[in-house]
């Protein structure tokens, strides 16, 4: 359209920024559609029955729900909101949000195909991810006033939802669906754009050598891989292949840290989470996920991996 020539480094930063958004937008569309289908065809009482009322059991089921709704992290936030609308507590929604991007058939399959020769990495990722999702959900469940954990708009959405009893295809063909689709999509997109910009800028302007400096020390190498996961913001369905590139330089324990932390927390996920949860809860989640990832990876590292 225009004949614009940019400095190569700026041009590449923009290309990477656009690439993250282009890659993620279809998954957000899919996520909003899956949550709409969930809303239209899955009766609240079925899901609530599946979930149960037991504190531990309900968080375990919530963590594993990703097996039923195969959406990766970008499409995950709309589905999390839908579950809140269906009567899941914020703490159960947290368990779902953290568990789904790892405990997901597509992700497990791609991890096996990348790391099939080191089953320890696959197991540590799947079981570690499950443990973190359940435990953090349980911790959050002890907050006495759960609705205070949600942003006002999400809390209001849940209220409206309680009075919606229509199900079936007509819901998908209604004006309200179009309204909801556009609202959800645009609010996710807004925040995705922030995360993508941050990731693209750090990618090109923070020297990668700086991260490799830490590869030799066990604790520092784990922290470096966590930092890398935060910056790269790669989709969990393919992050295993990307982790392969680090196998030579980093220990298996550090690779596991990348594979557990990345799907749960990264720049774009943090910004999208802020649409749903209060900043305080998001900060707590980031802190806890980081701590538990460190515990799992350090124990592997002490075990000689």
């Amino acid at each position: 359209m225009f004949d614009l020539t940019l400095d190569p480094k700026i041009q590449d930063t923009l290309t990477i920024f656009l690439a993250i958004v282009i890659e993620a937008v279809p998954f957000i569309v899919l996520g909003v559609l899956v949550s709409a289908v969930l809303s239209a065809f899955v009766k609240d009482k079925w899901l609530l029955k599946l979930r149960g009322d037991n504190r531990f059991g309900s968080h375990l089921i919530s963590s594993l729900l990703g097996m039923l709704f195969p959406v990766c992290e970008c499409g995950n936030v709309p589905v999390t909101r839908e579950l809140l609308g269906k009567g899941f507590s914020p703490s159960q929604a947290v368990s779902f949000y953290l568990g789904a991007p790892i405990l997901n058939i597509v992700v497990i399959a791609s991890t096996i195909s990348a790391f099939g020769s080191s089953p320890l990495i696959v197991l540590a990722r799947v079981l570690g991810g499950l443990a973190i999702a359940v435990v953090i959900g349980l911790i959050v469940s002890y907050h006495p006033r759960q609705t205070e954990l949600l942003t006002p708009t999400t809390a209001a959405l849940c209220e409206v939802h309680k009075h919606q009893h229509a199900y079936g295809i007509k819901v998908l063909l209604s004006k309200r669906f179009v309204k909801r689709f556009l609202n959800e999509f645009l609010s996710m997109l807004n925040l995705l754009i922030f995360g993508a910009a941050l990731a693209a800028i750090t990618q090109l302007w923070v020297p990668r050598d700086f991260i490799y400096l830490f590869a030799s020390n066990p604790l520092l190498s784990i922290l470096a891989m966590i930092a890398l996961a935060l910056i790269l913001s790669v989709c969990s369905t393919v992050d295993a292949f990307i982790a392969l590139a680090f196998v030579g330089q980093f220990s298996p324990a550090a690779i596991v840290a990348f594979l557990i932390f990345g799907p749960m927390i990264d720049f774009k996920a943090i910004s999208m989470l802020l649409t749903t949860f209060k900043p305080r809860l998001v900060a707590l989640m980031v802190f806890l996920v980081t701590s538990f990832t460190l515990i799992i990876s350090l124990s592997l590292s002490l075990g000689g991996y």
Partner: protein, 241 residues
């Protein structure tokens, strides 16, 4: 105050926020048909991207009739994204990215069978095929003297010294998922000191020559000893798989 209210009304009446959704959908669809999507994402995502882009386009167009949205200010990031998306020239990644990424000489095979490459005429191998071969058979002495004939862009990994026409890399990017994970595969080229030709970063060139085995810091490495280097135009598919 009155002006702000009237602006909001105008935004609502003109369906400006709804148009943002339409434009994002249109952008995705256009990328597919302009074939510039290859600069951003792996080919495996092309169809999914088109499908979801079309759905987004249709649903946002429908919203123009049913549901005017106000609050353009709230969607400023999206507006900025659309400006960047439509104004940034669509180009493949350049040597600027190769300089900040670890450069791989070898690459794991993925779904492709590697062993048939061994029996192929070496001069027909692409850069990504050489990289797979080095990963499969890392004994460099095996390749000594073999013919190389590849097309790629000129770059220089950050790890080594400043760029010179006597020693540079010719390479291609490969994407696993999207440009965020692009890694540069490259073959090192060393020309003789009084080589009359000239290359600069990001030139697309065709290099033909032979593999030469050299040693640096006690480690063996392969370098292309070029017979001929010609400048070519950027290929239709600048990335390899």
């Amino acid at each position: 105050m009155k002006l702000a209210k009237q602006t909001e009304k105008l935004v609502r009446n003109l369906r400006l926020v709804n148009l943002l959704g339409v434009l994002v959908g249109f952008y995705l669809v256009r990328l597919y048909f302009a074939q510039t999507n290859q600069y951003y994402i792996n080919t495996a995502y092309f169809n999914f991207n088109l499908l979801m882009g079309l759905l987004l386009l249709v649903l946002s167009l429908a919203s123009l009739f049913f549901y005017p949205v106000s609050g353009l200010r709230q969607y400023l990031p999206t507006l900025l994204f659309i400006l960047v998306a439509f104004m940034t020239p669509a180009l493949p990644l350049s040597s600027a990215t190769a300089a900040v990424r670890p450069v791989n000489l070898s690459r794991s095979g993925g779904e492709l069978e590697v062993s048939p490459l061994l029996s192929k005429d070496p001069s027909t191998l692409k850069i990504s095929e050489w990289a797979r071969l080095f990963n499969y058979e890392p004994d460099f002495s095996r390749y000594k003297g073999q013919e190389v004939d590849v097309i790629g862009f000129v770059f220089k990994p950050e790890a080594s010294n400043v760029f010179s026409k006597e020693n540079f890399w010719v390479g291609r990017f490969v994407l696993t998922c999207c440009a965020v994970d692009a890694s540069a595969l490259g073959l090192e080229v060393e020309t003789s000191e009084n080589w009359p030709g000239d290359v600069s970063l990001d030139d697309w060139i065709r290099v033909s020559g032979n593999w030469e085995l050299k040693e640096r810091d006690g480690k063996q490495y392969l370098v292309v000893n070029p017979k001929e280097i010609v400048k070519v135009s950027q290929p239709d598919k600048p990335y390899e798989n």
